[in-house]
Symmetry: C2
Subunit: 310 residues, 2 copies
Amino acid sequence: MASEKTIRIHSPATVANMVCGFDILGFAVNEPYDEMRIRCKDEPGIVIVNEDDYHLPTQPEKNVAGAALLALMDELESPVGFELFIRKQIKPGSGVGSSAASAAGAVVAANRLLQDRFSKEDLVRFAMNGEKLASGVKHADNIAPCIYGGVTLIRSIFPLDIIGITAPPLYVTIVHPQIEVRTSDARGILKQQVLLKDAIRQWGNIAGLVAGLLQGDYQLIGRSLEDVLIEPVRSILIPGFDKVKKLSKEAGALGGGISGSGPSIFMLSENETTARAVEKQMKEVYESLSLAYHTYVTTINQSGVTFVEE
Amino acid sequence: MASEKTIRIHSPATVANMVCGFDILGFAVNEPYDEMRIRCKDEPGIVIVNEDDYHLPTQPEKNVAGAALLALMDELESPVGFELFIRKQIKPGSGVGSSAASAAGAVVAANRLLQDRFSKEDLVRFAMNGEKLASGVKHADNIAPCIYGGVTLIRSIFPLDIIGITAPPLYVTIVHPQIEVRTSDARGILKQQVLLKDAIRQWGNIAGLVAGLLQGDYQLIGRSLEDVLIEPVRSILIPGFDKVKKLSKEAGALGGGISGSGPSIFMLSENETTARAVEKQMKEVYESLSLAYHTYVTTINQSGVTFVEE
């Protein structure tokens, strides 16, 4: 039934929430990305081989890629075996969808071995099991852009409703200060109740952001990148956040904020020159705080997980 | 300074909230509309003449059109006088922007007498004083579509940020059950706090609705016309609401809900045949409840307040 060959893929990092779009918006970026290979093996089951130094668990049910693959295998009539080689370049815990890249990459690659029998929506469903394992919650705002590419809207999780949002060209500057913010902690500090008036302001911004993206209106995108609910609570976990945001905007960024649940911070710009100027500001902030960090200047990835020739 | 002639306008009814877009979305319809005439008079001040049977106050500071005009006159260097004739066809308290039509119509017409010296955004700002008088709150989700036409997003009130949302052709069926729901009461019963998870579902729908409108995706529009926060509370004030909604959808409507704060209910359809079938269902519901009602089958008004030749 399954192919004999090895499938090799690149699975991109993703930025969830997109400031005001908590739990519903996300986009994929061209850098960084994980490299993965998958092939069928004779005996049923999953073997995971780490080809990096992150020492992630290799037991399938404790590995996000494994958990995603297990969900996929649950919907096959006959047992199959997969051997998965993972070379992560997206640091776990960085807030740019490291677990999503593993989970999404694994199921997209496995699906190719199975002659693409599952739809992209199925694959999102499977991969969300990886997110459940990583953060305790089945969320799709990293998984969906990782699989679909571009900016994606997850209108609803149950039932799953994913909508591609066409965006104008955007440059993305990301800084990852090397501190740990656990997704579960970042979720834990959120208030379960919010003021209606704050929610109204938030959904005005979400509507503005979606309209700005679809209409290619950079200024509207910039004005809408405001989060009155989540950022004020979560940003206190990220040293230098306010300064990075202020200096990035002064350097010309349209706006930005926490990537996912942090600690990475992302900024959107209209052109590469501005994106590089933003990177410079970010570097200076973390140099002055004597905090290790890593930066990326990249663009929106339009294709999601991509297949690479052997 | 001001023109000698009489300006005659039609000021359209509007549907605020658009189900999930509480306080941020609204659209204008081609029917019903108010007829108004305005001309300059020699003595400074405002004279309001009612040409209908609604017996609305004619003291400018107690009349929504007067309150809007007073705000406009506050920003003129020298005193002017206006004589305003109002023939309302949008019943006050119906929930389709009767007060907005008066306030917006008055300032648009007066502005024409003043050689259009104020921008549309200024006019929204002035007209919101009428809404303040009518409901106690300066909201723009009726005013903005009444002045701009089409579907409008009010991303923010302070500062005012109005965005036109291009929509595909849509038919609108409206039923106005002749009961009274005061806007202030309808606001009063809302909870000031909402669950974050409900807010997330709401803004997923708002994002879906904006995307559906801009992408001309009728099915997405339909799926997104869901309100988990306001409708469950407010709809209990409107007899027959659940039945109207259920039967309208069965008749083919994409979806719909409370118009503004009610009691009118609106439904969107892709074509006129469906919109008429929806009207039939609405009529049957209110016939069976022995409640007086009025229905409209109309389309989205793309131009807002329009000038009519003498």
